[in-house]
Assembly symmetry: C2
Homo-oligomer: 510 residues x 2
C-alpha cells in the first residue's frame, strides 16, 4: 500500500526512527543536565522521573539554560545551577594561578590542596548530605533543633508512635555519638538498653509506649566540638532519622560600659603610622578638639620612636617597616573597650565626625562593622562568593545589598572605607593579616567574608589632610621615602594575588 507515493512500511520505519531519535535527543539532554547536577557539590542525585506511559505522550522536561540564567542570577552573575565557577576576566578581573610561575604551580596546587583538606577536616566540612524523611512514617520526632553540649544530656522532644494498632509494640532507638535513656520509671521488661547506644521499648500498652518515648533523653559521651549525631527510631520496617547537634556554645566576651556609659569607656580610637609624624600629630589634634579623653592607640613602624605628650595616647613601637596590616593588627590587639574606631593617620576630625552616631548604629543593629564617609567618599562594595572545586570565585561590585533595618540612610554591604567603628571582639576574630606589608584594603573585607556583617552610614563624615608638598626640607625627605613604600609595585600585586590563591582558596575575581 502506498500513501502519497510513500510505502506505509517505510513511513512506519521513518516515524519510529524520528520518534526514537527524538527520544535519544531528549535522553541525552536529560543525561547532560543530570551530569551537571550530579557534579554539584550540594546536590544529591536526582533521577529525572520519566512517566511510564505511552512514549508518544509528552514527557516533562526542565527549563532551558537561558531561562535558568534569567531566574537565578544576582548582579548579572549567573549562580545556579552550576557545578563550577569561573570569572569573566576581560580587562577587569584576575585569575590567581597566574600569580605563580609556571614551574612552581603544580607544587603550589598540591600544597594548597593539602592545607585546604586540613582546614576542611577541622571545620567539619564538607557537611554530610541532607537527611531525607520518607513519607508516611508512623512517628513524630524532632526534625531540627535538638542541640546538646558535649558530655551533657538533653530531652528529645516530640517522639511519639502513631502507627497501626497491634497486640505488641517494639520500638528501637539508636544513636552513635552518645547514649540514650528515658526518665520514665519502668522495669527492664519494658525498657532495655538504658545508658547504651540502643534503647528498646517493648510493651502491649500503646500509651505506655508513648509515655516512655515522650521522656527519652540523649547523653553526649565524647568531648568534641561541632558534630551531628543521626539518631534513628525504628518499628517493624519503618525508620525515622533525625539529627542531634553536639555543639559547645561560644562563651560570651562582654564589655561593661560603666554606669554612665561614657564614650571613653565604650570606644577606643586606633591608628597606624609610618614616616608621617606631622600628619599623625595633626590628626591627633583634630581628635582632641571634639573628643578630649578618648584613648588613642598608635602603632608605629617608623625608624625612630615618637614622644607623644598626651596621657590618653598609647604608643607602640614595631620593627622598622614591619608593615601596614601588621600595625593594624597590633593596634586592635590592645583595645579594652567594646568598640574600636579605625582611622588613618592622615584623617581630620570635623564637627560632622559623630562617633556617637556610629555607636548608636552598632548598639541597635546586628552589624559588626559600620563605615562612614571620608570627605563624601563612601567606597562601598559588595562581595559575592561562588564556590568551586578548584577554588572559589569572588565577584566585587560597587554599591550595597539593601538598606539597613532601622537606619534608612545606611546600607548593608561587604566593604567600606578605612573609617569605621567595629565590635572589638568581632574585629579581632578576623584581624588584619600581617603578611600584607604595603598597600592593602579589600583583603581585610575578603578575610571577613562569612564572619563580619558590614554596613555603611554616609552621614558620618571625616576629613582628609590634603597632599600638599611639604615646605620643611626634613619632612619633604620623609614624604619622599614614604611614597616609595606606598607604591603598589608589580611584585606586590603578584604577591597579593598569590595570597588570594593560597590563603583564601580563591580561583579568580571579577
Amino acid at each position: 500500500m502506498t500513501l502519497c507515493g510513500y510505502n506505509s512500511l517505510w513511513l512506519l520505519k521513518m516515524s519510529t526512527f524520528v520518534l526514537g531519535f527524538g527520544l535519544v535527543l531528549f535522553m541525552f539532554r536529560s543525561v547532560y543536565l543530570h551530569e551537571e547536577f550530579s557534579l554539584h557539590p550540594v546536590l544529591p542525585h536526582p533521577n529525572p522521573v520519566l512517566p511510564r506511559s505511552n512514549p508518544a505522550v509528552q514527557m516533562p522536561k526542565l527549563l532551558p539554560e537561558e531561562r535558568l540564567r534569567s531566574l537565578f542570577s544576582y548582579d548579572g552573575i549567573w549562580l545556579f545551577p552550576k557545578n563550577q565557577c569561573h570569572c569573566e576576566t576581560k580587562g577587569q578581573g584576575y585569575n590567581f594561578e597566574g600569580a605563580y610561575g609556571q614551574k612552581d604551580l603544580p607544587a603550589v596546587k598540591a600544597r594548597r590542596q593539602a592545607e585546604f583538606a586540613h582546614f576542611q577536616r577541622r571545620e567539619g566540612l564538607p557537611r554530610p548530605p541532607p537527611l531525607l524523611a520518607p513519607p508516611n512514617l508512623p512517628f513524630g520526632y524532632p526534625v531540627h533543633g535538638v542541640e546538646v553540649m558535649p558530655l551533657h544530656t538533653v530531652p528529645i522532644p516530640g517522639l511519639q508512635f502513631d502507627g497501626p494498632s497491634a497486640p505488641n509494640y517494639k520500638v528501637t532507638l539508636t544513636a552513635s555519638l552518645g547514649t540514650l535513656n528515658t526518665l520514665a520509671d519502668l522495669p527492664d521488661s519494658v525498657v532495655r538498653g538504658r545508658g547504651q547506644k540502643q534503647l528498646t521499648i517493648s510493651t502491649s500498652d500503646r500509651k505506655l509506649l508513648n509515655f516512655v518515648l515522650q521522656h527519652v533523653t540523649y547523653t553526649s559521651t565524647v568531648y568534641q566540638h561541632h558534630r551531628v549525631d543521626v539518631v534513628s527510631l525504628m518499628s517493624k520496617s519503618s525508620i525515622a532519622k533525625f539529627p542531634v547537634t553536639i555543639r559547645h556554645p561560644v562563651i560570651p566576651k562582654l564589655y561593661d560600659p560603666g554606669p554612665e556609659r561614657k564614650l571613653r569607656d565604650l570606644v577606643t580610637i586606633a591608628t597606624k603610622t609610618f614616616l608621617r609624624p606631622h600628619k599623625l600629630m595633626t590628626m591627633l589634634r583634630s581628635v582632641r578638639e571634639y573628643y578630649p579623653d578618648l584613648t588613642v592607640i598608635v602603632a608605629d613602624d617608623s625608624k625612630e620612636p615618637l614622644k607623644i605628650n598626651d596621657s590618653h595616647v598609647e604608643y607602640y613601637s614595631m620593627p622598622f617597616g614591619k608593615g601596614w596590616f601588621a600595625g593594624r593588627n597590633l593596634a586592635i590587639s590592645q583595645v579594652t573597650t567594646k568598640y574600636v574606631l579605625w582611622v588613618d593617620d592622615d584623617f581630620l576630625f570635623t564637627n560632622k565626625t559623630k562617633i556617637e552616631r556610629l555607636v548608636d548604629v552598632l548598639e541597635k543593629t546586628e552589624l559588626d562593622v559600620v563605615g562612614g564617609s571620608v570627605l563624601g567618599n563612601v567606597f562601598q562594595f559588595k562581595l559575592l562568593l561562588e564556590q568551586g572545586e578548584n577554588g572559589d570565585c569572588i565577584h566585587r561590585r560597587s554599591g550595597s545589598f539593601q538598606p539597613l533595618d532601622g537606619f534608612p540612610s545606611c546600607v548593608v554591604t561587604s566593604g567600606v572605607v578605612n573609617f569605621f567603628l567595629a565590635h572589638t571582639e568581632r574585629l579581632l576574630r578576623v584581624g588584619f593579616d600581617p603578611r600584607l606589608q604595603r598597600v592593602a584594603h579589600s583583603e581585610f573585607f575578603i578575610d571577613g567574608l562569612g564572619s563580619l556583617f558590614v554596613g555603611s552610614c554616609p552621614d558620618v563624615i571625616i576629613g582628609h589632610q590634603a597632599h600638599s608638598p611639604e615646605v620643611d626640607l626634613e619632612l619633604a625627605a620623609l614624604e619622599k621615602t614614604y611614597s616609595k613604600y606606598r607604591a603598589n609595585t608589580n611584585a606586590q600585586i603578584q604577591f597579593k594575588l598569590a595570597l588570594h590563591y593560597f590563603k583564601n582558596h580563591l580561583q579568580c575575581s571579577t
Copy 2:
C-alpha cells in the same frame, strides 16, 4: 449493714477518700515534676500521659531524683534535668557577684543583662524551639542539612508526595526568608508563584506533581548571616515543615608551608617579657641551640627598650606596664606562620623540647592547641559549663576528658601550661584579653570555651629557669620590682572575679 463494726457507707467514704488522697498526692508529684520540667529552658511542655483506665491501675511515673542524679552526672556534677545551675562553693569555689560592692550590684546586673541581650541578638540566640514532625505525613522532605548562601539558590532534595490517590492534587510550598521556584518546565496552569514566597502545584497527574517537587529550588533574597527559614509543604490538612539554613561559609585563611616545609615557615615563637631581660636572653640562647633560624617575637612593656642582636628576633615596645595579656595579644597579632609556639620568658629549651612533635600532633588531629610539659608539670584541667539564667556555672577539675585519637600518650582537655603550639588563626580568634594586666592564666582557656579544642602531650618537655637570688645588684633590684607586679593582690583577684561575672556571663565556679 455493718462490716467488722464499720458502717459500709463509712467504708465506702473512707476508700474514696484514701483513693482520692492518693490520687491527689500523685497529681501533686506529677505537677511538681511537671513544674520543674516546664521551667527547663530546653524542654517543651510534656504532659504525663495518664491512662484513662481504672484509677486503681498503676499510673506510669518518672524516675526519682536520686536515680536521675546517678544517671546524669559528670565528674560528680549533676547536670540534668535542672533548670538552674549553682555551685557548691564550700572552700574551693567562687560566687562572682561577691566581687562587686553591694551598692553597685543592681546596676551591674542591669548592664550585664543589656550587654548579654545585645550579644544574644547578634548571635541569633536563643535558638527557636526544635521543629517537630507529626506522624503519618504523606510527604518526603529534607529533615536536616539544606544550606544556602545569602542571595544564592539551592535545590531542595527529597521532596515527594505519597498520599492517597485523588482526582486532583494541590500542593503548596511556603517560605519566608527567600523565594521558591522549580526547574520543571511547565505552564502556569500547573505551577503558580514561581519566584515568590508561595509556590502552588495543581495537577491531576501524580507523577507530574512529583517531577515538579523533585526540582524545587530555594533562593535566599536577603543578605544576612546565620538565619534559619522554615519552609512548609502542605496538601489538604497535612503540613510538613523543614529548615533551610542561610549561612555564609567562613572564608579559609590558609598558610603556605613552602616547598620544603621548613620549620621556620611553619612555626613562629612568641613571648612576652617585663623587667627580666637576663632571663629573656637566657631563654633566647637556649632556643638558638636547637632552632637557629625560627622567628621569635618579643613583646616588652618594660621601662627601657632592649637591643637584641638576633636577626630572627622581632622586638616590640609597649607602654610601660601595659600588661601580661596585652603583651601576649600583641605578640600573637604579629605572627605570619601557620603555627605559633608560646613560651614564657623564663623557660629553657632542652633536647626534649621537640617542636616537630607538637607540629605533628596539630597536623594530624583536629586540635587547635596542644600543650607540652614544663619540667614534668602538665597542669591539665577540664572545664565543664552548665548554663543558667542568672549566668552560667563553670566547674574546673584537674585531668583530661579522654585520650587523643591517634596519639595515645596525649589527651584532650580544656587547659594546659604556658608552653603550647597553636593554630595561629584559631588562637587569634580567641586572643588574650588586654584587660588582664597582671597574674592570669585560666582566663584564656575560659575565653576559649567553645572555640578552642585543646590537647596535651606530656612527652614534649621544656625547662624552667630556677628562682635563684641574683648576685648582680642591678638585676636584684629589677627582680624586686618585678615581684611586686607579680603579686596576686586581693584587688586583682576581685577584678578578675568581676570580669568573669560580666564578660563571660558567669554566675560562679567550683
